[in-house]
Structures are given as structure tokens and as C-alpha cells.
């Protein structure tokens, strides 16, 4: 794999950075690829804009940030509005229809709607939303193995909530498999 | 006959001759050096502590010159006001060291003010000996945070428009464990206070009012004699009395046993052993 670029954006508090971190750990430690993860924040930590990026490669990674994303996860309307233009033609756009209501104004991409917040609520709490995203990413991109992500989730989340986190993750995979 | 305290100094040696010292004739710093060495000697003799456990730190100014190269101990003539910070690093790196800091009123209360109140707040195990002459001596007699209101100096030619700190009160309020003030006219009390301060596990602040005959333009002997009437023995009963304008309290203001920084932090380290 030459270079695969993942960008996740949303509000602060949606677990955006954790998505990046877990994806990075999974790819780098368990799938033994190269993975650079970066993030940036808006002014407020809750409700402000938040973005995480992961660049994956089997080769050495020079530039550590996204140049032209292969996949964009937009968990807020602003995220889609601001970052859609940096998605490659033929790239994958994953949106949560709860918050991203406007039709993405591009015809050359693959749009996948995943109700991450709703699925998370069914598992037990909206905060598991980011696990649903990881499941969707895993299934849709195929660049990080399910096994690696499970291990990464296990070492990141508190052991008390591990079962629910894994459940949310698996539901994310299931949902897009259909 | 050789003065016994000279055993603790480097009269000659690796760096050549140090004596006579640079201090002005009649300066109180020489006395304070003597009192300090006497206190250290008592501890070395009574407690069996090796003198190589001590290190001295100073900032800048006349007081700081004591560490320039006279001491037969590990020492550092560091940066203006920063000796408490330098000593903090040394103690945390090697907690068995005993830190004695020589400072002056400008060094400890102006540029060093922040470091002074914080080592008191932390109650770190060190002894601060402040030689208070009420101005900046080395640089020519400028007013200091301890110069009394109305007094003229090279930077207050029309009289000092500012108020003065009470350094002992600052130390007490900030959290020190042992606080005392004496003058160069109280040799035994100074030695005892310094000895107590070194033994105290926590921050000891000992202020010693010192004559600077050069800048105050008075005879040293007269100044020292005057200290005895200016310094009024403190006691709880007398506290309500008002002092005359040029008087100040002397005595032990505080002597508490309270948790010290290194011993508190050690509890964290011990959990990981």
C-alpha cells in the first residue's frame, strides 16, 4: 500500500481524536504498517471543530498529514462543508445523517450514510459513536484489519466499558456490510 | 593562633590566595560568615554529619560573594535572585545534601521574590540566610524593597516613595517552618538560629540586619551598637506595642514542625519501589 489517507472530523466530544488514535495503534502496532496520526482543535473543547487524520503506508511516510483523503468521515455539517473538497475523486464519504443533513454536492464519490449516534444509543450510550465509526471504516476501507482494531480498542478503552465498545464496533461493521 | 573557622575556608589552595576578602572594612557579611560557619561546625561536631553534605548557594550582590571562592564546601555563585531555584534542583537530585543559601534583601525580595515565596510555600528543606542592609550594596546604594519609606538613596534622591517588605512576615505567610530575625550585634543568637534552621526539616528563613557602612556613610561600630536598641525582642505580649520608626522586632517568630516537600514527594516514589 503506497499511501492511504483517512480524515475524521466533527465536534469536540464526539471522540474524533480517539478514532484516529485507535486506528493508528491498530495499523502501526498490530497490522505492522506505518501510521502517522495528527489532530487539530477549534477554540472550545466541547462543540468546537475537531479533526483527526491518519496516514497509512507500507512504505516510509514522509508528509505526515492528509494531502487528498481517501476517506472522509464527517460527523457534523461543518465537517462535510469544510473538508469535502479535499476528498479524492472516487473516495469514500461516511456521514452521520443525524447531523449531516445537506446532500454532499459531489457526484464523483461514494457516499455511505451510517447512523453512528443512533446505533451507539442502541448499544447504550451516544459516546460509543466513535466505535461505530471505526467499524464502518474497517469494513469500507479494508486497510486496517478487524483483529488489529479490536486489540487496539481493548488497550485504549476502560475495561468496564470494553464489551459495549466492542459491540458498537461490530455493529458498525455489520451496518455497512449490508 | 589560627581562627578555628578558617578550617572551613579556602584561604589558599587550588585557586590561589583568597584573603583578604573583598568586603568593605566594617561590613557585617564577614560576621555572618563567621556565625554560619560556627553553626555548621556545631552540627558537624554534635551530629556527626560530614561537612561534605553541605552545599552553599548564592545569587548576586555582596552577600553572594561569600560563595565566590572562599568556602571549603561545594558551592555555587549563581544568578541574581535564583539561588533558591538552583538549590531546589540540587536537593531533588540529591536529597541527602544540606542546602544553605546566602542572600541579600534585594536578591531575595526583588528579583528573587517569586522564588523566595515559593520555596517557603513548598517548605523545602533549606536554610535561607538573608543579610539585610536595606539597600543594594554591590551596585552602589540603590533603594531596595526593604528600604524604609522616605529614606534617600542613589535611586531615591528625593526620598523613597515606596513601602518596605517585612521579609519575615512574607516567609511566615508563605509557609516556612522556622523564621527568625537578629542583627550582626547578636552573635550567639545568630549562631543558634542558624543551627536551629539547618536542623529544622523544612524551610528556615533567618534574616540578619547588617551594617553597610559604605553606603549608609556611618561608622560600622556605631551602626552595630545601634542595632541593639533598634532590635526589640519579640514576644506575644509585646506584639501589640507600636515600635518607633527605626525599630524592628528581633527574635524567633515561628518554629513549627510541618510536612516538608521531599518527604512528602518520597511517599509517591516509595509506592513504585
Amino acid at each position: 500500500m503506497k499511501r492511504y489517507e483517512i480524515r475524521v472530523a466533527g465536534f469536540g466530544g464526539q471522540g474524533v481524536v480517539t478514532i484516529g488514535k485507535i486506528a493508528g495503534v491498530a495499523a502501526a502496532i498490530y497490522d505492522k504498517k506505518n501510521a502517522v496520526q495528527t489532530q487539530s482543535y477549534g477554540p472550545e473543547s466541547r462543540g468546537g471543530a475537531c479533526k483527526a487524520e491518519v496516514v497509512l503506508s507500507d512504505e516510509k511516510i514522509h508528509y505526515p498529514k492528509v494531502r487528498s483523503a481517501d476517506v472522509l468521515v464527517a460527523l457534523s455539517q461543518t465537517a462535510q462543508d469544510v473538508y469535502l473538497k479535499d476528498l479524492k475523486p472516487g473516495g469514500i464519504l461516511i456521514i452521520d445523517p443525524l447531523t449531516v443533513v445537506k446532500e454532499p454536492p459531489r457526484a464523483d464519490i461514494r457516499v455511505v450514510r451510517v447512523p453512528t449516534a443512533e446505533i451507539a444509543l442502541r448499544v447504550g450510550n451516544k459516546k460509543f459513536q466513535n466505535m461505530v465509526v471505526l467499524g464502518a471504516l474497517c469494513q469500507l476501507t479494508g486497510v486496517i484489519s478487524e483483529d488489529a482494531l479490536e486489540k487496539a480498542i481493548e488497550e485504549t478503552v476502560p475495561s468496564k466499558t470494553l464489551p459495549q465498545n466492542i459491540e458498537a464496533f461490530k455493529k458498525g461493521i455489520e451496518y455497512v456490510r449490508k | 593562633m589560627k581562627h578555628p573557622m578558617l578550617n572551613y575556608l579556602k584561604e589558599t589552595g587550588m585557586y590561589g590566595d583568597r584573603f583578604p576578602t573583598i568586603f568593605c572594612p566594617g561590613c557585617g557579611i564577614g560576621q555572618i560568615l563567621n556565625y554560619t560557619l560556627n553553626a555548621v561546625d556545631r552540627i558537624v561536631q554534635k551530629d556527626g554529619l560530614s561537612r561534605d553534605r553541605f552545599f552553599f548557594a548564592s545569587g548576586v550582590g555582596c552577600s553572594a560573594r561569600l560563595t565566590s571562592h572562599y568556602l571549603g564546601f561545594d558551592s555555587i555563585w549563581s544568578l541574581h535572585g535564583r539561588a533558591p531555584a538552583v538549590a531546589t534542583g540540587a536537593l531533588l537530585a540529591r536529597p541527602e545534601l544540606k542546602a544553605i543559601i546566602f542572600t541579600g534583601d534585594g536578591d531575595v525580595a526583588a528579583i528573587g521574590g517569586n522564588h523566595f515565596i515559593h520555596v517557603c510555600r513548598r517548605n523545602l528543606d533549606m536554610t535561607l540566610i538573608c543579610m539585610n542592609n536595606g539597600l543594594y550594596g554591590m551596585t552602589g546604594g540603590q533603594s531596595a524593597p526593604t528600604t524604609l519609606r522616605g529614606i534617600p538613596s542613589t535611586t531615591s534622591p528625593y526620598g523613597n516613595v515606596e513601602n518596605a517588605f517585612d521579609l519575615c512576615q512574607m516567609a511566615i505567610t508563605s509557609g516556612a517552618s522556622y523564621v527568625a530575625r537578629w542583627t550582626t550585634a547578636h552573635p550567639q543568637q545568630c549562631i543558634q538560629a542558624i543551627e536551629k534552621g539547618i536542623r529544622k526539616k523544612g524551610l528556615a528563613f533567618i534574616e540578619i540586619m547588617t551594617q553597610c557602612p559604605t553606603h549608609w556613610k556611618q561608622e560600622p561600630a556605631k551602626m552595630v551598637k545601634k542595632f541593639r536598641s533598634q532590635g526589640v525582642r519579640f514576644s506575644q505580649e509585646k506584639e501589640k506595642e507600636t515600635l518607633k520608626k527605626d525599630q524592628f522586632w528581633v527574635g524567633e517568630f515561628l518554629d513549627k514542625d510541618q510536612p516538608e516537600w521531599l518527604e512528602t514527594y518520597q511517599k509517591i516514589i516509595d509506592r513504585f519501589k
Partner: protein
């Protein structure tokens, strides 16, 4: 409020948590860490057991990791009242025998210059990590390389020191170990010039064993069998350094001095010899200190030079240009910024038409570069960026503007 003072203290830590902790340097293996965390682990690996710091964006994470890890490895951490106190405390810790470190950013770095200057004169080793942010003044809180000149020239007076520029999480570990090794070997303060991007990035860190990665400790007079009163004057390049408490009764001073430490017999000759020696200590040993890394240097007519995180944007740009058919573009990375690797560059570079130098500042290191290579290079083109990492596109665009597509 003051009722809470002086009360008994119990660490907030369960038995379980205490057991899980790594009570020493990280064991060999792969880890996925923040750059800031990798830096602290590198320090611990190198033997650092004293950390003092003050909060400042974007360097606070280094301090927070140090607060967590130092007691775990038997060291001590303290948050000081300001950056001045932090840096000054490194002097004391170092003279008490410890390897000491602090981290800060531009505004705090300025406050530390007094201590750096003292350390240069007194030959006191320690490491300062500068996670650079834009200036001047409060500037901003994103990435920057604007303190690269200050690292060398910011302390008042002469004398040299060493500064390294890491560009990855691995290098945040490796260069910190290297920084301590240099500090101990040359008895000099060493600056790690990181930036917000590399500090806040996560990548894999591979920790190797102590057999593979050398750690250097300062030479003490007792290591050479030299007793008290006999260790000065010292004939070699770097005097052995005793620690307080070892019985050497060493008086540390920041004035100009004779080789035996005498500060009273002033003379212009002594003064010159003293400060000149501090400069020569580093400048005469540049080849032993500097490291650069080049790719595609064979037959290159146009060279892109970079350091720190910018080097990653630059190397990406060069790789892409070469893939597009530009076979005469090469890339050179400066791993050491100070001392500046002038002779090393001259030994590996021939005649060049253009040097492109992207920097996250308005063109600082391009000056010593010009000085080193002016007779060999026709044009030096600075590619500045403020507050953010260059994109490869920015660099490619500039290059194609000059040499054509």
C-alpha cells in the same frame, strides 16, 4: 483554604495501578506514542531523573508525562513557579549529579536564556526541549521553527552549544537520548528544537536495548582517579565534572576564569582564553557532533534543504518531483542545526544551480547555509511558512515556478 496546608499526604494511586507501571525505561519493543511522550521516554532511557517545568502551550504535555513517569523510575518532578526557576533548577540538579531536563516554547525559552548563558560559562550539562510555536510575543499556538536562531544566539555572551531538530516520534526519543549524550560528553546545555506538529503527532516508536543504544555519562574526576584539589587545571578538552556531595568542594561560578578556576586575577589574556575555549570546545569538534541526511544527491542540480518536521513535507515533494521525471532534484536534511554543519555540507555537495529552503519561519537557517555554500550555489530560494507545516504542494509549486514543470 489554608486549613488544607501542611496536612498529611497520601498518593492517589491504587495498588493495581502501581503494579501496572513500568518502573524504569521502556523495555525494547514497539509503542504508539505522542511525540511529547516519546521525548520523555527518551530522557528516562538516557538516565534523566530530574524534571522541572512550567505550563505553556504546546509543550505542557511533555511536562505532564514527566510528572507521571519520573517518580515511577525513582526520579523527581517539580512544577516550578516560572520558566526562569525551571531552567535555574536544572543547574543545581546537574551539579548535584543528575541528568536534568525541561520543556517549554518560545516565550518561556526567552526567559531561560539567563540560565543557558550561565550553563555555557560554567559548563553545566542539561537539556531544554523547545516545542516551538510562532512568535514574536504571544504569537500563536501552532507549529513553528522561529527559535532556531535564538537557540544559538539567544543567550548573552559567547560560547557555543548544540541544537538538534527531530522530525518524527522516533526522533523525539532518539534525539533526546542524543541530546543527553552530547550534554554529558561536552558539558554543555543542549537544545532540542521540536515543534507543535511533531510533539502532537502519534507514530510508532521502536525502543531498542541498552546494548544497541549507547548512553553516555559525564566523566568525574574520581573516574579518572584524580583526587580533591588536583582536578584543575585540566589539560584535555572537557574538564571532568565532580558532583556536590562527592567531597570535591567545588565552587561553581559564572565569571570568566583561569583554567584552574581562579576568578580574581583578571587579565585580558585570561578572559580571551576562557571564552574562546568555550567556543572552540564545540566548534573544533563539529565533525564529531553534526549529522545530515541526503537522498538523491548524485547528479543533482537543484537541492531542497530542510530540518525538523518541514523535512517531511520537503522529502515528500522531492519524491513526487522525481516520480514526475525531475531527475536532477535532490534532498538534504539537517539533523543538527548547531553547530552548523558547514564543512560537512561542503564535503558532500558540489556545484548547484538552486537551493530551495522551506522553513516554518521567514528564512532563518538560510543565512548560515548561504555563508557555507555561496561560492557553489547560484540561487538560494527561501520558502517560508508561518504557523503551519508546509504542504508538499507549496514546495513543489515554488520549485516548478523556478525550474519549470
Amino acid at each position: 483554604m489554608s486549613e488544607n496546608n501542611h496536612t498529611a499526604f497520601e498518593p492517589l494511586l491504587t495498588e493495581e495501578e502501581a503494579k501496572k507501571v513500568v518502573r524504569g525505561p521502556l523495555l525494547p519493543g514497539d509503542y504508539y506514542l505522542f511525540g511529547s511522550d516519546a521525548c520523555v521516554e527518551g530522557a528516562i532511557f538516557a538516565g534523566c531523573r530530574y524534571y522541572a517545568g512550567y505550563p505553556i502551550t504546546p509543550a505542557s504535555e511533555v511536562m505532564e508525562k514527566a510528572a507521571e513517569r519520573l517518580p515511577q523510575v525513582g526520579g523527581r518532578f517539580i512544577q516550578m513557579e516560572d520558566e526562569i526557576a525551571s531552567a535555574c533548577s536544572l543547574i543545581g540538579a546537574s551539579w548535584a549529579g543528575a541528568k536534568a531536563m525541561t520543556a517549554t516554547s518560545g516565550p518561556g525559552f526567552s526567559l531561560m536564556m539567563e540560565a543557558v548563558s550561565y550553563a555555557v560559562m560554567s559548563e553545566t550539562p542539561f537539556v531544554i526541549v523547545n516545542v516551538q510555536r510562532p512568535g514574536p510575543g504571544q504569537g500563536y499556538i501552532t507549529s513553528s521553527q522561529e527559535d532556531v536562531m535564538q537557540a544559538r544566539w539567544g543567550h548573552h555572551g559567547g560560547g557555543s552549544l548544540i541544537a538538534l531538530a527531530p522530525s518524527s516520534v522516533q526522533e523525539m526519543f532518539d534525539f533526546t537520548v542524543q541530546a543527553f549524550n552530547f550534554a554529558e560528553k561536552w558539558r554543555v546545555p543542549v537544545i532540542l528544537l521540536a515543534d507543535e506538529t511533531v510533539a502532537h503527532m502519534r507514530e510508532r516508536l521502536t525502543v531498542r536495548s541498552r546494548e544497541e543504544v549507547k548512553v553516555i555519562d559525564r566523566v568525574r574526576p574520581q573516574d579518572l582517579g584524580i583526587p580533591y584539589e588536583k582536578y584543575l587545571p585540566y589539560e584535555g578538552t572537557v574538564p571532568p565534572m565532580p558532583a556536590w556531595g562527592d567531597g570535591y568542594r567545588v565552587n561553581v561560578v559564572g565569571l570568566v576564569h583561569h583554567p584552574d578556576g581562579n576568578i580574581t586575577k583578571y587579565s585580558p589574556e585570561m578572559h580571551f582564553a576562557c571564552v574562546n575555549r568555550l567556543q572552540r570546545k564545540i566548534e573544533d569538534h563539529v565533525e564529531e557532533i553534526v549529522e545530515v541526511e541526503g537522498i538523491f544527491l548524485e547528479g543533482c542540480r537543484h537541492l531542497v534543504v530542510a530540518y525538523g518536521t518541514t523535512a517531511r513535507s520537503a522529502s515528500e515533494a522531492v519524491v513526487e518531483l522525481r516520480a514526475k521525471g525531475k531527475a536532477d532534484v535532490g534532498f538534504l536534511r539537517l539533523k543538527t542545526l548547531w553547530p552548523f554543519p558547514e564543512n560537512r555540507l561542503r564535503s558532500i555537495l558540489g556545484q548547484l544551480e538552486n537551493i530551495f529552503f522551506p522553513e516554518m519561519n521567514l528564512g532563518f537557517m538560510i543565512h548560515p547555509l548561504k555563508e557555507a555554500l555561496r561560492d557553489r550555489v547560484q540561487h538560494f530560494i527561501s520558502i517560508p511558512s508561518l504557523g503551519q507545516l508546509h504542504t508538499p504542494e507549496q514546495i513543489i509549486e515554488k520549485i516548478e515556478e523556478v525550474i519549470g514543470k
